[in-house]
Symmetry: C2
Subunit: 292 residues, 2 copies
């Protein structure tokens, strides 16, 4: 029996998507079941969770549960200087594009990669990223999938992504059709950027704002810096202001919660989803609502 409260919750959660990295130790089936129990209608899916059952079966499982896929995480790692490595990276990204299409999402999140081992030429690495994106665009268009460039926090510049700001992502996207290359605003990565308001507005004008991902910036930075992402409300990010900029840029799509955090991973998954849904409704959704 569905109560009024349940129905209200479902309406409030209609734009919420659970990124499977938030519940790292759940299998795809567990993530699907957890999302359904929590009234969350969408999943952002990592490729390891897809690989665990195969793409076609993953697509069926998600569809059968009545969920949609907000994005596939992730393609990228395009900075190699070695031709054999470049070839491998392109093959892997083409496979990811096909996977995204098979899963019914048009968004493939792209983490472009850091400096190759022992290489300090960041300018050169950025040029190679631009070249590899150009290589991939025809394949993306063919599959109806958008390469969604993700600027990562500058603390990951050496080892994860030489793409560090939204403005840089939009410049990188500029030579390509807006339907083929978009950008994602992930609050953790870009909240500090003094040009954020202006670049989010630009992303809207240029029709490239493809995804909005949220989590908080907690301090201290975790011993493993990758695990510093926090639950919304636990850190220093002003979701109201950033959410308003995203809304004003015309974004009305899914809002993914993607949290890498050892404490959250160790907690009970259903409790994590309940907290996440509550924080989403209290802190993230109000500013992001177009009707506000």
């Amino acid at each position: 029996m569905t109560t009024t409260e349940d129905r209200l919750d479902t309406v409030a959660l209609q734009r919420l998507s659970l990124n499977t990295a938030t519940t790292k130790y759940w299998t795809l089936q567990q993530a699907i079941d957890g999302a359904v129990r929590a009234g969350i209608p969408a999943l952002g899916v990592w490729r390891d969770r897809v690989a665990e059952v195969g793409t076609d079966r993953a697509a069926r499982m998600i569809q059968d549960a009545g969920l949609r896929v907000s994005s596939l995480c992730r393609g990228g790692f395009l900075t190699a200087a070695d031709p054999a490595e470049q070839h491998k990276a392109l093959a892997d990204n083409r496979a990811a594009i096909a996977e995204a299409a098979a899963l019914g999402t048009d968004s493939l999140i792209m983490v472009v990669g850091g400096l190759p081992d022992g290489d300090r030429d960041i300018v050169g690495a950025r040029h190679r990223v631009a070249d590899r994106i150009a290589d991939l665009v025809p394949h993306a268009i063919e599959h109806g999938v958008r390469l969604v460039l993700e600027p990562l926090h500058p603390m990951y510049c050496a080892d994860r992504a030489v793409l560090s700001t939204l403005g840089q992502a939009l410049d990188l996207a500029a030579p390509h059709p807006a339907g083929a290359v978009g950008v994602v605003v992930d609050t953790f990565h870009v909240w500090w950027d003094p040009t954020l308001a202006e670049q989010i507005a630009r992303a809207g004008r240029e029709n490239r704002l493809a995804a909005y991902q949220v989590c908080d910036w907690n301090l201290p930075i975790a011993a493993d810096a990758l695990l510093s992402r926090g639950m919304m409300g636990d850190g220093h990010i002003d979701f109201d202001t950033i959410g308003g900029w995203v809304r004003d840029a015309g974004y009305t799509g899914d809002i993914e919660v993607e949290i890498f955090n050892a404490d959250i991973w160790a907690a009970d998954g259903d409790l994590v989803l309940a907290t996440m849904a509550g924080r989403f409704v209290d802190l993230v959704l109000p500013a992001a609502e177009p009707t506000r």
Copy 2:
């Protein structure tokens, strides 16, 4: 007796400055003596080292040793919303300006401060920094001291500095005379910035490039993120490229080595200075030389 090799070294080191944070456990006198032994002609001095003997005596000690002061570290912490806190911060910065003048340096490095406790309004914090800089400029001009704005790495945005990029620093400086407000390029903080080449050139054009500080970006990020700074050559920064941009912007001043790093602090100070001088000559100086 001075050998030819010693004299060559002294020439090679003429732009090198030891920031006292690099030898954290040395007193001011020890830092002076160490710099003299190593043939390093300048010190970047932290205020705690000055306070330990008093400003006038510190100035005399440094001058008597034949050294110059490349900068005083540091003023700033200007983000308070509370009027009493603002008043305290201004008083402290006025004292720092007077100290810089007494020490014979025209450069007061400014770390602007992070978000006040529990405050998430980064846009408001940045406006307050701009207002406080404006409050301090007349005092700086009166003392012949330049407020040298330091963009800090975005990973310190919440707790240390809401000033994160060189472009933002130049925008913040723009309303004021170039002689009163400058900027510092610290490789650790800005190496990742995709607009770095363009903003260093702009700093040169606008006559605001007041200081060049070097150290490396090491991974993993240290458990205490403040201590992640590495010896040049140990990390991922391309000093040749950045040094060339700084040279092309017309900078010919001192180059300070400022390293916060627990391992380096625990090492023998004379060995640290020898390594530092060697890495400076090999990795930093060649690109920074105007005659190159």
